[in-house]
Amino acid sequence: MKYSYFPGCTLHTQTKNFNDSIKSTSAILDIELEELKDWQCCGAVYPLTTDSAMGLVSPYRSLQKAHECGNNLVTVCSACYNVLKRTNLTVANDGEIRTKLSNYMDVDEYAGESKVLHLLEAMRENNGFGIIKEKTINPLKGLKVAPYYGCLLLRPSKELKFDDPENPTIFEEFIKSIGAVAVDFPNRIECCGAYVSITSQRKVKGASESILKSASNREADIIITSCPLCYHNLAKEQERLEKDDYTFKPIPILYFTQLLALALGLEVESCGFESNKIDARPILKSKGLIYRGDA
């Protein structure tokens, strides 16, 4: 299955390990990701005002380009996913905005014919979890993984239709397919604080702290996420907690594809664990899931 791939701004810079693990794992799973040429910022937030055409210019360009390539568009970052998918829906339903955008950009009109998928959705669509189960060489037995969804992936549910917004299961399915155990923790769909981190660390603190503690209370070994922004907020908060709260035991936070890479039997070195703020290798080692790799 071939898709256009929209990495988003962090995947080539801050979170190379995410990008690399996506590339290496999707190749094994027969998901061909062709990076969109000249892609640009997704728009970062979906504009909620009614005369919001300007805010849609950027995502519209990406969508229109992907459509020209004739593929559905895959992205991994929750924020990009949220913006692109909602823009896609808007231009499909609102002819006026569509005409405005295409006239402004002087491109062919695009009416939302292509689909926007999160990588997890693309996997689900092609029985990816079944394939993962088949291709898993190194099942992560006994590893307790807390799946952190965040909010942008799930809401607004009527538009995104990603999963049940209150009780999503797609990560759990994924975790099961790589042989690990999913930890049910209550805060898995709460907001991490998102962009507020730019203006108010204090507000983000509360949000991220409760997520981390909630996962830690349920004795998770590892937290996985699919969003660089969530990752950033959680990791930042964890750094602070480590300093301030001696009772808190830090939990490695990984991108889900990193664990996938490990399960599919890729070299530990290629899983990008070294770039994570908290190294997951000691835990993985203690569980007997890797033998090499230093911490």
Partner: protein, 659 residues
């Protein structure tokens, strides 16, 4: 050309002061087809009616026009007069020259011209009118009540008391419905079974009521006054005729199973009766759980039965009944907790719904009225009640208010506080809707006397931590987020129609709304009738409601049935649609338009020369049709027409008015 008579009424000065009635009758005398025209002071008076009768007889008139007040006033009067004179009443038409002419215009000249034109148009309409005869529809004076809850029982008892036979069909093995499961009732806090048991007992022994429990209506045909229904009687595996209700079998049965009646809060035996006051007090074998049905061994019940009434080989059978009216009282259910993922999707044992709380609060329930939480039997020290769980929630596709939850939650909180004085009861609510006699006072009592904590706001999440349920919510009055650790959470889940309501609606050809509640014929004026003539509605089948309201509606439905049965036969209005089978092409594009589902395809045989041609045409069920005429517009060839307001009549009227 027909001989038509025209009568212009003065209505004292009401008409004659603005319309020159004399001129009108003079001018009409010369109008083609008019054989007789005259004016009279008060046509609706006895001498006026006599005049009409006499003129019809003397002149052998074939149609008359009465130009007078609105047809809504005296159409029936004049039609009756004409009928007495031997003229078909549907050959009488009224011209409204009072409400719509003399009273609304002041210029006499204009008003007179208009009146004359209106009368001429009516004459044209009468020229095209036909003799119509009301059909006498035979009537079976027997009612079928579907649902044996409080509404169904009320209807059954009322109708039975009036002397008509009733068939009461209930899908469960016993009657009583949801009310039988309740602990105590608001706003009086008297015990539900104390007020219900006399009713169930009376239903059980009333000579006019045939009780068919453990049964379902599977098929229905016919129309009002004459329905034929098929009722499926599911096997009980016990010969209830022979059984004496000693319940030795229940005592000795080795197999325990979850009880539907207890909503997962308690157990019952594989052969058992749901509760001690059940009517009929006869046991039934749960086929899926019984050891004998599973393994072919056991037969303990057979061994202990003193009258030898266990029949493992019993089969379901279908009973056919002819009835005249149907009352749908199929009741309600609660939205499954599994639909509420923010409250744990049913995975926490101590998150229960309102009905489950009723069971554990009920003196005859599994805990004998002691409020214990299901997981470990502990008496909860803190209970959180969440109202509007699913109701008033577009995300759950239940935007409506379930109406009873505000009251029963207050009741639950009170019952709890009466038992556990030092416990805390917290209620999360959106609004408190306590409209009803003594209702608001009841809620206030809960708040003020029993110190139930009411927090205005929604609960975002419930999860389990360290054996406690953590409730995360918001108190919108103080704008603070609230975190409560509770031992038990009670969800006031949305009231939804009975699971089988939609299918039942299709079986009975009665419409349901988007949620499955039955549609009433008119939201204000005909709330107990359905769109299908002869089918009435009672209780929560139509919309969520509490016990007093249910009983009033059920009594209303019963009154409707009794009124219907008070006549010896039914008369149908002949001003209904008719099909010209010669022209009808059978495309049935009229069918979806009919709000009463009165149009059906029929295959007719037409003899043309030597060949017999079979073809499909539309037919009208005259018992169901109410004469709106929407179908006649959908018919391109004009095969579908409306008697009394036919295409011909309207066209002629139109042409005469346009001149």
């Amino acid at each position: 050309m027909k001989k038509i008579g025209v009568f212009v009424c003065w209505c004292g000065l009401n008409i004659s002061s603005t319309v020159d009635v004399g001129k009108a009758s003079e001018e009409l005398k010369n109008y083609p087809g008019v054989f007789y025209a005259d004016d009279y002071k008060y046509l609706c008076s006895d001498p006026g009616q006599e005049l009409i009768k006499k003129t019809i007889i003397d002149n052998k008139l074939e149609g008359i026009v009465v130009a007078a007040c609105s047809p809504n006033m005296h159409e029936s009067t004049f039609r009756a007069a004409a009928e007495a004179a031997g003229l078909n009443p549907y050959r009488v038409e009224i011209t409204n020259i009072r409400e719509q002419t003399s009273w609304v215009h002041s210029n006499k000249e204009d008003a007179t011209i208009k009146a004359i034109q209106l009368i001429k148009a009516t004459v044209e309409k009468v020229k095209k009118s036909e003799d119509l005869f009301p059909q006498q529809i035979p009537l079976t004076k027997k009612v079928l009540v579907i649902g044996g809850g409080i509404s169904g029982m009320t209807v059954a008892l009322e109708v039975a008391e009036a002397g008509y036979p009733v068939i009461l069909v209930e899908k469960e093995p016993q009657i009583g419905g949801n009310m039988a499961k309740l602990s105590e009732t608001f706003p009086t806090l008297d015990c539900a079974s104390c007020i219900l048991t006399p009713k169930t007992a009376e239903v059980g022994r009333h000579s006019n009521i045939t009780l068919m429990t453990n049964s379902e209506v599977v098929e229905s045909s016919g129309y009002f006054g004459n329905f034929t229904v098929k009722i499926k009687r599911k096997p009980t595996f016990v010969d209830w005729e022979k059984c004496i209700g000693c319940m030795l079998c229940q005592e000795k049965c080795p197999k325990k199973t979850n009880s539907d009646f207890e909503h997962g809060m308690g157990k019952r035996k594989a052969i058992s009766v749901a509760f001690p006051q059940a009517i009929p007090y006869r046991p039934i074998i749960n086929e899926k759980e019984c050891i004998y049905f599973k393994t072919g061994k056991c037969k303990m019940c057979v061994k202990v039965c003193p009258v030898d009434c266990i029949e493992f080989e019993q089969l379901e059978n279908i009973v056919e009944e002819n009835i005249g009216a149907i009352v749908v009282a199929s009741g309600y259910e609660l939205l499954p907790k599994e639909k509420l993922s923010e409250y744990g999707q049913g995975k926490y044992a101590d998150v229960i719904d309102g009905m489950q709380f009723e069971r554990i609060a009920s003196a005859s329930g599994p805990t004998e009225g002691v409020i214990r939480r299901p997981s470990d039997g502990k008496i909860p020290q803190s209970i959180v009640f969440i109202q509007c769980a699913g109701s008033r929630d577009n995300q759950k596709d239940r935007p409506y208010c379930s109406k009873i939850c505000c009251m029963y939650t207050a009741k639950h909180a009170m019952l709890y506080k009466h038992q556990v004085h030092d416990g805390t009861a917290t209620v999360f609510y959106m609004d408190i809707r306590a409209g009803g006699k003594g209702y608001e006072e009841f809620v206030q009592r809960a708040i003020e006397d029993d110190h139930v904590l009411y927090l205005r706001g929604r609960v975002a999440r419930v999860y389990e931590e360290d054996g406690k349920l953590v409730v995360l919510g918001v108190d919108t009055l103080s704008s603070e987020q609230v975190r409560i650790e509770a031992d038990l959470v009670v969800l006031a889940t949305a009231v939804i129609p009975s699971e089988k309501a939609k299918v039942l609606g299709q079986t009975l050809k009665v419409g349901t709304d988007a949620y499955g509640f039955f549609n009433e014929a008119h939201p204000k004026l005909r709330p107990v009738e359905s769109m299908t003539k002869g089918v009435f509605l009672a209780g929560c089948a139509q919309a969520p409601r509490d016990i007093p309201e249910t009983v009033s509606q059920a009594t209303g439905a019963a009154a409707k049935v009794i009124t219907m049965f008070s006549k010896n036969h039914l008369v149908s209005d002949p001003q209904v649609a008719k099909v010209n089978e010669k022209i009808c092409v059978g495309c049935l594009q009229c069918e979806p338009i009919c709000p009463y589902k009165a149009i059906e395809p029929e295959t007719i045989e037409v003899r043309i020369g030597h060949t017999v041609e079979k073809r499909q045409v539309a037919t009208i069920n005259k018992g169901l049709c109410q004469g709106c005429g929407a179908c006649s517009v959908a018919c391109r060839s004009g095969a579908m027409n409306l008697s009394g307001f036919s295409n011909e009549q309207i066209l002629e009227e139109l042409k005469a008015l346009c001149l």
